[in-house]
Symmetry: C2
Subunit: 214 residues, 2 copies
DNA sequence: AAGCTTGAGTTTGAGGCTATCACGAACGCT
DNA sequence: AGCGTTCGTGATAGCCTCAAACTCAAGCTT
């Protein structure tokens, strides 16, 4: 995004077409899910014929990988923006939920059913730890008087994932709990597992958040 | 399963072939995920030619629906078995985790990324409430001295999903929290989101369970 | 026991998809 | 202006789902 029109005209054009392909792909994913994504359909929709897209993405997998990367990036940016100085973890939680609700399939691209063979590229795990670092910032700033748990001991010895961050074990534990609990409610909500139960998922989400901060 | 060899010979044969198809389908799903399931491949693997399978399942969707139903049934049976009289919620939690780890793709067939168009048949929601009823049994038997929360009030007014069950609001709340939290840890674990972090998911799972029962 | 009915499994084929290849045409740099 | 790079095309191979027509055997009926 630095220098909007950078590079040679060819590179500009190429980047623009790639962007449009991804845009169409998102539309298709939103309505048919990731499994219903069709390069052919995207091409036709853009007025091109099938194989043309292979100039821009090596194949379906590479396109989906690019989309996953973008989704991760978008999530990390959203979380980071919500964690601006002064804001507490509650703001992050609500930003996360809003991000998920805005495009459920995008959420599931990141946290949904994994494809057995697929392995995420390295930069994605980098983004993931960026998200965790933001959470750690939030919880390290939050004092707690709860006694150390069994998990705290485990985390004290296995804290590679939080590596350069100085957060104490209790913060690590709470950040992890934040992550898993928010994800628990969100993925069930987006999966439609509460529909028909008469429950308001927002209340459940808020309750879990309260419990976490108590 | 009542009366192993029930019905006419034709029906027996039909049931047997249907069962074998589903068996092969599970193998395929375990290694390639639900999206990689191919009727054609199953047929070839069984020594038949493609379209023969359509005698037994109207199409790919119907086969997957049958698999989802079986997975739900299996989960409900597992949970119910673990909740035999005297056993507490801890046993249910560990049975749930063992069930999920035994076949991650089966777990994701139930709780994974939903296909936008797809709507589960009614009997599946029946099984889902059977599972919830078992959880409610467990938590209704568990005394708690915690004060009523905001969510308790909401649940008192929206308890259709627990309908004939006499559990108090606090039990409803804790059963829901059990469900969402266990799912939070499990789905992230099975999705491989902890790999590379150095964390033992079992510790995290146990910690969440402890916290829930404290 | 003979004949009719039912249903299993086959081949054929339409239509969709991913992906590869060779070709012509446009583009931009020198 | 010329030339190499890159884009887009059609053709093709190999998957897939699913519909239709046809063959054949097994089972029920009389």
């Amino acid at each position: 995004m630095a220098e909007p029109g950078a590079g040679t005209p060819r590179e500009r054009y190429r980047a623009q077409v790639r962007a449009e392909i991804k845009e169409r792909a998102w539309e298709q994913i939103a309505t048919a899910g990731a499994s219903g994504l069709s390069l052919n359909a995207i091409a036709k929709h853009m007025g091109m014929s099938g194989p043309a897209l292979y100039r821009y993405f090596a194949g379906r997998d590479e396109l989906i990988t690019a989309l996953i990367r973008d989704a991760y990036r978008s999530l990390a940016d959203t979380v980071r923006a919500a964690a601006e100085p002064g804001a507490d973890v509650t703001a992050v939680a609500h930003a996360l939920r809003a991000w998920a609700l805005a495009d459920p399939q995008r959420y599931f691209l990141v946290y949904g059913t994994p494809v057995p063979g697929y392995h995420a590229p390295d930069d994605v795990t980098t983004i993931a730890s960026e998200i965790m670092a933001t959470l750690l910032d939030g919880f390290a700033a939050l004092p707690t008087d709860a006694p150390a748990t069994r998990l705290d001991a485990h985390l004290e010895e296995h804290r590679q994932w939080a590596d350069p961050h100085p957060a104490p074990p209790a913060a690590l534990r709470r950040a992890l709990a934040f992550w898993t609990r928010m994800h628990g409610v969100l993925s069930l909500e987006l999966g439609g597992h509460f529909t028909g139960m008469g429950i308001d998922p927002a209340e459940l989400f808020a309750s879990e958040l309260d419990d976490l901060l108590a």
